[in-house]
Symmetry: C2
Subunit: 656 residues, 2 copies
Amino acid sequence: MGQTQAALNLMPQPAQFTVGEGRLLIDGGFQVALTGVKEPTVEAAVKRMIARLSNSTGIPLTQALATEPAKATMVVQCGRLGGVVQKLNDDESYSLEITTQQAHLSAATTLGILRGLETFLQLVDLDAHGFGVPAVRIEDRPRFPWRGLLLDVSRHWMPIEVVKRNLDGMAAVKLNVFHWHLSDDQGFRVESKVFPKLQQIGSDGNYYTQAQVKEVIAYAHERGIRVVPEFDVPAHTSSWLAAYPALGSGPGPYEIGRHWGVYEPTMDPTREYTYRFLDRFIGEMAALFPDEYFHVGGDELNSAEWRGNRRIQAFMRHRRMKTAADLQTYFNQRLVRIVERHGKKMVGWDEVLRPGLPKDVVVQSWRGPQSLAAAAQQGYRGILSAGYYLDLMQPASQHYQVDPLGGAAAALSEQDQSRILGGEACMWAELVTPMNVDSRIWPRLAAIAEKLWSPKTVTDIDSMYQRLAVVSRQLEFIGLAHRSSGWLMLKRLTGPHPADSLARFDEVLEPVKGYAREKARQYTSLTPMNRLVDATLPESDAARQFAVLAADWKTNANEIERRLAEWRDSAINLLPMTKENALLEEQASIAENVRGISQAGIEALTYLRSDKAAPADWVKRQLDLLDTAAQPNAELLIVIVPSIRLLVQTAQAAQP
Amino acid sequence: MGQTQAALNLMPQPAQFTVGEGRLLIDGGFQVALTGVKEPTVEAAVKRMIARLSNSTGIPLTQALATEPAKATMVVQCGRLGGVVQKLNDDESYSLEITTQQAHLSAATTLGILRGLETFLQLVDLDAHGFGVPAVRIEDRPRFPWRGLLLDVSRHWMPIEVVKRNLDGMAAVKLNVFHWHLSDDQGFRVESKVFPKLQQIGSDGNYYTQAQVKEVIAYAHERGIRVVPEFDVPAHTSSWLAAYPALGSGPGPYEIGRHWGVYEPTMDPTREYTYRFLDRFIGEMAALFPDEYFHVGGDELNSAEWRGNRRIQAFMRHRRMKTAADLQTYFNQRLVRIVERHGKKMVGWDEVLRPGLPKDVVVQSWRGPQSLAAAAQQGYRGILSAGYYLDLMQPASQHYQVDPLGGAAAALSEQDQSRILGGEACMWAELVTPMNVDSRIWPRLAAIAEKLWSPKTVTDIDSMYQRLAVVSRQLEFIGLAHRSSGWLMLKRLTGPHPADSLARFDEVLEPVKGYAREKARQYTSLTPMNRLVDATLPESDAARQFAVLAADWKTNANEIERRLAEWRDSAINLLPMTKENALLEEQASIAENVRGISQAGIEALTYLRSDKAAPADWVKRQLDLLDTAAQPNAELLIVIVPSIRLLVQTAQAAQP
C-alpha cells in the first residue's frame, strides 16, 4: 500500500491504496445492494450515485437497487446510523475493495459511505471493453476534519441553484463545511422573522427564505456537508444599519453598500440595544442553522465611526480602553456569551484574536499563516484561509503548495498542531456573478480539497494537474457550469459571429491577479460583469502546456508552430470585431499583441531551424514587443509571453 | 409596413413591421413601467423578462421595475385581465413600438403582452455603442390559434426540469400548446389517486406527482401555453394493462413495454368495466388538467387481441361490426361521451376519423396532410403533425416547407380551411434521453413555430436559417441544453482526451433519417443512448455552409481547403481513439472515409487550380470512395459527400 504507486484517477488521493489486476465492468446489469444498518441517508445517496453513474455513462440503470448482495455488482455496508446533525470530527473513513467480480464499500458511518461513493464514481472510466473501474483496495480517511468552502452571497447574490450545484461539487471532492457568508455591507441575505427589515431593506429583494435555508441545509446534510453561517459583525454591516440605524455608531442614515472595500458603518458596541438585538437575532439564527459552530466575522474594522462618536469615546475612556481593538475585544467578549447562550461555538476571523478572547473561539486565519500558528500556540483552534482565496485568480499549483501545517505552523508542537482543524477556500464575490462563479471555484477548489484530505506527502504538482483535468470533466457532469457558462459568456461577446475563434484567443489569457482588477477601475455591485476578463478562466491550461512544449523546441517545433499559428489567426479574426462591438473594443491592442508575439514565436522557430542566430535588431524588436505584451491590458494578462520570450532568446543564442 | 423589408432578427417574423431610424440603448438604467390593468401574470412576466435581459447582457437590473412611465425605457400596457384558463382563440395580438427614446408594448390581453415581451427580447443585440434594440413598429398576431409541441415522456422519461426548460423555449418562439404525451406502452407517467397502480406498476417509478403536474400547468400558464394531456387509448396501453389487466382484451399477464413499435395489448371495448374505469380515470384527470381539450390518442391499433378473443368477436358479430375499425369507432363514440361529460372536448389521432365520429372531436393528423384536409371537409377541426416529426431528423428547411394549409388543404374552401387550427411538432422519445432531447427539439422547432405564427408569405429559407442561428444562441441563454449537452456527450466519448477534435469531426455527420435507426438495430428502452449518433446534431450547419462554398470553388478555394484539412485532421486524430475506446470503435471506418474524401476534395482543388482535367483513374477512385462514404455507417451519414462529389466532378470536367 502507499504513495509510491502511480496516482489513481482520484482527487483527493486516498490515504492508502493498492492497485490490483483487471477491471470491474459497468454495464446495464449494474446493481447495488445495501447491507448493514437501514439508513435512509445511505439509500438516498446510493440512488443519487446510480443516477449520476447513469448520467456519466449513458447507461439506463432504472432497476439498479438490488436485494441480493451475492449477485450485486456493488455492496454497500454501513456500520451505524449517522447523527441528525453532523459534527466536527465525525468519522469519515471508509474501505473500498474492488475486484473484477464485485465492489465492496464499507464504513462505520453514513459519512464514510458518502465519501466512498464519490471515490467509486471518480474511478469510472471508459476503455476498449466499455465502462469500468480498476481493481483496487482503498483505505481512506481525511487528514483534517474541517475542509470548507466559503461562498460570499452578499456582494453578488447567488440564487439557491448556484449553492446547490456547488454543494454537489464540494461533496464530489470530499469537502465537508459550507461556510455561508450571508451578510455584508452590500446585502443581508437571510429572512429574519424577528427583524424582517433586515431582508426587506437590506437585500434589494435578494435573500433566502427560511424555508430555502432549511432546504440548503438538508441538501448539504445529505451530502455530508455542515453548513456554518456567517453574520459578520460589528463591521461589514451597512446592510443591517440601513434597516436598523439605531445599531450604528454614526448618525446615519445608512444605505446598502454598492462599492467594494472597507466601509465605515459599524455597530455600536457601547449600547445595550446592540446586544439585545444580537441576542434575539442570534437566537433566531441559532435555531435555523443546526451546526454547532456559528461565525460572527469580526474582520476589517474601520474605527472612524467609533472615533467620531463622543459617547463611544467616553465609554472607552471610562473603561480605560486605548484602541478600537480594545473596544472590539469587549464586543467579542459579550458576543461570545450570546453565541454560547444559544448553544453554539463561536468562529471569527483572525482579527478577533486579542488578549481576553475566550479559548473556545475558533480563529479563521485570512491575513496569513502566522496568525494561525499564533492562535494554535495560545490554545485556540484554527482554520486556514490565507493562501486559499479563489478570487485572487492564482493557479491551482500555488494553492496546492499551501499546507495548513506549513509555514509557521510547521514549527509547532504536535499538540499545538492538533488545534489546526483544517482550512477553507474563500470565494469572495466582488467580481463574480451566478454566471461565472463556478469557473472561479472549479476546478481549482479540487486541488485545495486534496490538500485538506490527502496525506501530507501527496504534493506532486504534475500529478495534481493531470487528475484535476479528469475531475474537472466529471464536475461538468454533476451540473457545474465552470466550462459551459464560459462558452455562453463568449457567445454573448461575439453576438452573431461564432465564438470558437474568441475561445481560442482567450486560451492564452488570464485575468490579472490579486486585487489588481479593483485597482484598475472603480467597480460597484452595479457594474456589468460581461467583459472578456469575466469569462477568461483563472488559469490557462493551454499556456501551461505550451510552456512545456517551448522548453524543448527541438522535439516540439511543429506543434509549437501549429499552436502559435492558431493563436495568431484567432487574433486576426478578432480585430474586425473590436470595431463593431462595444464590449470587444478594449481587446484591439491585446489582439495586436497576441498576433505580434505569436508571429515572433513562429519567426524564432524559423531562425532556430536554420541553425543561425537571429539578428540582434530582430531580437530587440521582438523583446520590446514582448515587454509591451507583458503589460496588463483590459485587466488581462497574455500568459504565453514567457514561453515566447524563451523561444526568442534561444533563437538569439543559437550557435551556428 | 410589410414583407418586402429585410427580415428582423425575429423568429417567428411578425405579421407586420416597419423598421425605423436608430436604436434604443439598453444599459444599467433600463426600466420598465406597467400601465393599464394590474395583472400579476404581466408583472411576473416583466420580472422574468428583466432577469433574462440581465442574463443575456450581463447588466445588473435589480431596480428595473419603474413607477413613472414617462421616465421608463419601456412601457407595458395591458388592456384587460387574462382568463384563469387559457382558451383556444384567445387574443394573442400586440403592438410594439420602439423609438430611440422608449419602447411601448401594448396588447388587449395578458397573452399579447407575453408574446410582445419575447419579441422585445429577441430584438436585443450588441453593436459598437453597446446593447440595444432597433427602432421599429410591429403589429403582430398569429396566423393559427393552435401551435404546439408534443413531448413523449413515456418511451423515455423526462424529468420536470426538461419539461420546464422546453416550455421556456416554446414561449420564446410563441408556441401556445404543450401536448403532453403521458402514457404509452413503455410507461404511465402521472400519479392517479383513483387508480394508483397505474404509476406504481406502470412507471418504473418515473412519473409526475399531481403536485408536479399542477406546477407544470402553472408554469406553462404563466408563459401563455395551454397544457393538453394525452392518455392514449385503447392501444398503446401495455403500461396500464400491467397494472390493471382486467382492462385488456387478451389473457395477460401484461408488462411494461421495453421495445419500440406497435404492441398487441389493447383495452377491451366490449366490457362495461373498461368504460367505468375510463369514466373515473378521465374524471380525475379532467379535474387535474384545466384545459378544455383532452387527447385520447386512438392511434396504431393492432387488432390481434380483439381477433383472438371469442367474446369480443361475438360482440362484434352481434352488433354487425365487420372490422376492428368499426369496433374502435364504437369505443370512440362511448369515449367522447365520457370526455364530454367531464367538460372536455376530445382530440384524437387521425385514425379516429371514421363515419359516426361526433363532429366536435378535433383530429390530429400524423399520417399525412390528406387526412387533415379530409377531416376539414367533413366538418371536423384539425391539427397538422405530419411533416413536423422532430424525431425523424429532417432539416429545418424540410419542416419549414410544410404548411398546414398546403397540400390537399390548399384546395379547400375558406370555410373548410378555417377548421384547420394549426399544427404541432412531435418529439417522440424512442431515441432520446433527457441529455439529448433538447438537441432534437431545438433549434428546428423555432422554424416550425414560425410556420404556425407568421404570414403564409414568410417562406425564405436562407432568411430562416440566418435567423435560426440567432434564436438558437438566445435559447442557450434561456437554459436549453441543445448545444451544451452535446459537448458533454462528446466529452463522455473521449474520456481523458479533449473533445474539440471529435466535435470538429462530428460537424460533417448527421444521424440517419426517418426510422432508419430503428431498422439498423434492436433498440429498447434499456439501450444506452451514449454513442456518437446520439450526440450528433440532426442537421449539420457546417455541411450546409460547405455546400455553398463548394458551389463556387473559384471564389472559395482557400476556405474550402482549410475546412477540408481540418476535417481530415480530425479524422486522423480520431483513428487511434477508436482502438482504445469501446464506444468509438464503430467510428473507425467512418473516420477512414472522412479522411479519404476530405483528401479527395483537397486533391480535386489542386487539379482545378492547375486548369488541367483530373485523370480518369483518379476520378474513378474518388467517386468509388465517395459512394462508399455515402453509405450509412454506425447510423450516421457523412453529409459533405455531395459537395465533395461536386468538386471531384468539376475537376473531371475541367477544360484546359
